[in-house]
Symmetry: D2
Subunit: 356 residues, 4 copies
């Protein structure tokens, strides 16, 4: 793995506030891996968080870690056992790759596998670099009519897919989405694609809500000082009835509470947002109305359907990208992401192709 002169510019976090562009060796793919020339990598809130705080909950950056997990690239080398990919294939990368065939994998919920490899979650390195190797089973060929950036956006889109799937969104559903950050927006987009009748999106920020409108929200509601019960009652008034599903994408306690009050009896509240350790909620109000509360931990089995949706133009995620930077300007890009003025900041890792 020496390759002293190999050019592989890589973005590494060393600890809180300590982000560095370094030159790494180009890795060698194992028998079941592919080596990828990286093209587009989106910056996620968690990347910014590891940079700012050096940790997320119990996941602590103890040794230098490469950031990045919303990514796409081109296959440049193929491991000996890989059959479904070849050099030149454009692929989207699922950042969670199984290490063992455990009980969770066998039942099709591999995202819950405790030993899973996950890009840019300590201690596993991410793919904000120029050359990266990955388990070939978790690289998916992109059709010609899907861009690299769309390929990279499959990662956040997958969170929305998994959330809507767990919410059981179906035809004509009224849906409440709390939060219009990148995750709230992909959730909105997916809910509409699954046939939701009306999606109401809430946020504190007027500009985020106007983005929500742009990507398909039927109704928007700007939150200021209302109590959770007041929000629930406003939502019911605006939709004409309580929503069958609420998808919470803020992690804020009061939003979770409003989600419980707002959801129709027999409906589902999906928790995507991650909040504090303990949360105070009107649990009896949920349970006596059989409002199910379901969490989302990343996703599984989403890349193939996301690619199919993108290829058929059933969803449009392009408006989510508000900024682009070449990999060399990664620190500037992270500064932009940290400020939160835009939505999705894309890093372009291939100096010869900075197209979307």
């Amino acid at each position: 793995m020496a390759a002293a002169k190999a050019e592989n510019l890589t973005l590494v976090v060393h600890g809180p506030g300590d982000l560095r562009l370094e030159n790494y060796p180009i890795p060698e793919p194992g028998p079941n891996e592919v080596l990828l020339k990286m093209h587009s990598v989106g910056i996620c809130g968690s990347d910014v968080h590891y940079w700012q705080h050096g940790r997320i909950g119990d996941f602590i950056v103890k040794k230098p870690m490469v950031l990045g997990h919303e990514a796409s690239g081109t296959v440049v080398k193929v491991g000996s056992l890989v059959k479904h990919l070849k050099s030149g294939d454009r692929v989207a990368i699922e950042p969670g790759a199984l290490r063992e065939m455990d009980e969770f994998c066998k039942i099709g919920r591999y995202n819950l596998s405790p030993s899973i490899f996950f890009c840019a979650t300590p201690p596993d390195d991410g793919n904000l670099c120029q050359f990266y190797k990955h388990n070939a089973d978790f690289c998916y060929k992109l059709p010609d009519n899907v861009t690299y950036e769309e390929g990279a956006l499959i990662e956040p889109l997958s969170v929305g897919i998994h959330a809507c799937r767990r919410a059981g969104i179906t035809l004509g559903n009224k849906v409440l989405v709390c939060g219009a950050g990148p995750i709230g927006l992909v959730t909105l987009i997916v809910a509409k694609a699954m046939g939701a009748g009306q999606v109401l999106v809430t946020d504190l920020s007027a500009s985020r809500l106007s983005k929500a409108k742009e990507v398909g929200a039927d109704i928007i509601l700007q939150i200021s000082k209302e109590s959770p019960k007041e929000i629930a009652s406003k939502v019911e008034d605006m939709l004409g009835c309580k929503p069958e599903a609420t998808i919470e994408c803020t992690g804020v306690e009061s939003a979770i509470q409003s989600g419980i009050y707002a959801t129709r009896a027999g409906g589902t509240l999906v928790l995507v947002g991650l909040g504090s350790e303990m949360t105070t909620v009107p649990l009896t109000h949920a349970s006596t109305r059989e409002v199910d509360i379901k969490g989302v931990f990343r996703y599984c089995n989403t890349w193939p359907m996301a690619i199919s949706m993108l290829a058929s133009k059933a969803v449009n995620v392009k408006p989510l990208v508000t900024h682009r930077f070449p990999l060399e300007k990664a620190l500037e890009a992270f500064e932009t992401a940290r400020k939160g003025t835009g939505l999705k900041v894309m890093l372009k890792c291939d100096p010869n192709d900075q197209n979307p």
Copy 2:
């Protein structure tokens, strides 16, 4: 219930080939019923069949029966116990109305209730008339932005909804729809609305297939003399893989066979089309690949979601209507339907409002 002079023009089948426009008394709604002034009623293949043959399978026209079950109208009188409707409300009519709270109703599959009332299925009268009373629990208020004709089309649309729901259509699915008659087309429309990636529609008729293209088919395939296995193989080639779901809307044995061969392992074949009593199929091929075979008997719990979809413009069923006739010209309308040149023929029952 006398009302000798009351004007209630009604289309009645008396036996095979014997269709008459007659004057019926205006009925009086019971405590849980509403009286409706009918507006738009679509002609269904089954209406034509009762007229031509006086029966469908074991359902035999033994006494004069009013035809029509794809209908919408306006409430003009309200039974004493009805709370959710009032005079003037524009409503769509679900033609199947429960007579008793049996085991099927209690579990939410009321379409299977053996004692259900169903418009224009012997011995129950339909609603191709000017004034009609119906169980208020099965009349659904239309929002202002949904037309009467859309309201009437909820009936066939419901077959498509129930079929797609039973098929488990989800995001990005590849779907095969056999047959591009009215039922195949609503199924296609619903599959797309539920997020299907690519829908391939087959038919014998080029004109029906071009209508399929018009309402959203991604791929069309005209069938001529191919064997079921050849069709399956063509479908796989055209979609790039086997479809996760096949929805059979012809009732033809060879199409059912091709549906089994075509569907992906672990997928679902939904049978909407009604064929002969005994069918010869490659059942072991289905069962060893765990391709589930599920039938569809009408629908249940579809009107609210259909109204929500129509109101939000998630689906567009308007292109299905190819002909319109005033109720007075019902026989001419049925002749048109019988010839099968168009798709959906609408009868306009209100002489003062012949708009869609």
Copy 3:
């Protein structure tokens, strides 16, 4: 409906602490009702609560209310429209009876119908009396080999069925049941009947836990001062792994917390116990492990399966009955129930037949 001298001894709560045995007229069944001669009625915690406090949450006893909702009896008169029952039929009574065919009924979740009639929930009268009329659709014929008391016990058993069904209990599952009151015990019994491999039951009380052992608990755990995390860890040790499902039957905050910590990733926590309005829980711990939290509000569609189970001797609920009193001694019976020394106290309403 006068019947001045008619003998219909009835147990009525007039307000907190005010319980009276009175003589009511014998009611006349409506067209869709049956009149029942009551046989056995169990005392539920909620009956005791209405007597002690005159309310449960928002349900307030504003006018005298007959208690009792765990009941069985014999048909003595049949309404004009009733077809499936006749005089002399022994029946179990489902206390929740639909008043309208609303959206919840149509989808098969009628327990969520806001207008439902429910015995002994204000303002609806219960059936702790000698003669009682009920919606015939919610009276179920008992086979000869099922006793009246078993028939009455179908009510609490139904809570266990609904809870286990919502928990998705299946073959070989490890299950944690918190609480060994009547509800915890029926849940245990049902979980075993559904094929659970090992059920661990917790309680504070040693005597309740030994009853749990008697009716089938594989493992019991007496709770004293352990923290929720400690309990979760003990449960894992004792079962050899985390349970796939936890069914919480205490309503106590710390038990709910231990349920979240204890349940396996991808599993389900069902909340049967009813606690205070706001609850503080480690929600993120549940959601990032996709432990679904589902409530239970009574039950629906349980009587037929419960009767089938009792008839086939798949479950044995008889050991739950610890005390019996004739209806005349109802106040003594309630005193016994209030003290909580036994489990299920049965009132025998038929002076001529006090058998089980």
Copy 4:
């Protein structure tokens, strides 16, 4: 892998009618494999079929193949990457072991993976031998209170589990099982363990039906010359209603037909039995009553739950074993199995331990 003198007595089929006991080298486990000293291996109908006919459908014995796939043994050597097993562990073997992480594996339906390795299905060798190596992820540790023979019987039991799971058997269900061969009997056993109220088993053979009674059938029905409709009507009479689920374990066309007629509207017919290529069935009768027809291809995710059930004594499969032979007498054992007088014939591979 030489081991010239190594003693590894192995049962090999060379072609139709050509079955030989040979000495094979003891294999060397790969990094993710374990070497097992085999203990008990049951003879399956398919083993007999490969011996008699040299093929099953498209699976043809083209080179010598070791038979056997219902097996248990003891770990004697552990591959370098194996963590969950160690030498001395008693294990049950799941004969289907994944070769790649394909789409079917990812969604938890790995039995449908087309590249799966499967013991004693050409060209993959089985485990009717003394030493056998297997993918460690598909070897499951047996608790002390589960015997080797119970471990071997998990294979057929798994077919029953998968069938009942796909049938959606739940509390109190009436179930029809067609066929009382080993597969019909394990299906019966599992259905009862899942809470089925009454299971009716049919067969042509009185002796098989009395075995069915012995292992838990509530009702038995000996079939002779009745038409499928007559059988359906007898089943309804005997159960008191139509069964919610029918599980077909014969593969015979007339039994499949009777299964369709017999099953309740809204119920499920599961096809386990494998019949001829084309089958003539009353498909419209199934589809208009929404009787779902679901196949079963082996099983997935059954070993852990089967072990849990066996450990908790929730099921008893021991009565299925009617004959035992030492491996040296394998040909005699196969002759016994071929004659079909008993049920399950066990081969004992460890000369030092011939206990169950």
